[in-house]
Amino acid sequence: MTDKKPKNVFKQGAISSEFIGESIAKHQTKTSIGAHNIFLGQVRADVIDGKTVSAIEYTAYEDMANAKFDEIREAAFEKFELTCMHIYHSLGTVKAGEICLFVFVSSSRRKVVFKALEYIVEEIKAQVPVFGKEIFKDDSHQWKVNN
């Protein structure tokens, strides 16, 4: 948890459902865990001025982003009684319907996981320099803004 070099949270492309399933499986040896809570961000095929989003292309200020993810992780471990926490974010192209963010928290008791997960996701949205370029089906684009 207190490695000097932050973990790399980024994965190239979409996060697969198999990867998520395997992450869950890995926690089944940790028999002090009673509750897991998982957030998945999925790319929406939003229609904006008649044009449909076909994918988001993610870039990031990677060093700063990984440092921020690390700060968020440390703060969450301080605030909440968590057993485990994992964060993965996509870089590059993620098509509509695919998953771009995977946050996974586990604790012995359920009450804590709900609060922790929402805290972490909101912090990620607000603090981490990741930039999403919404690509429309006609190849035009706009820059996504979180709200």
Binding site: Y58, A60, M64, H89, P129, F131, W143
Partner: protein
């Protein structure tokens, strides 16, 4: 002072670079911004924050010579 600046997202579209090295006269982030606005007038209309050494800073912060980055609104997740 010679400073390395990184540009991201919409800002990189305006500057047409992802990174460049600039000479800045003056001690503050605001001095850097003046230089950038005169080189890239379109930046004035854009919403962005400045990070120095990977921490967000204000216009009144002193330039340290460390890595600078212009960051448009975050949209991760």
């Amino acid at each position: 002072m010679t400073i390395n600046i990184k540009y991201f997202g919409l800002i990189a579209e305006v500057t047409q670079h992802e990174e460049e090295t600039m000479n800045v006269s003056g001690r503050f982030i605001s001095d850097l911004l003046e230089a950038l606005y005169s080189k890239y007038p379109d930046l004035k209309n854009k919403d962005f924050q400045v990070a120095q050494n990977q921490e967000l800073v204000s216009e009144n912060t002193e330039l340290s010579g460390q890595e600078l980055a212009l960051l448009p609104p975050f949209s991760g997740g």
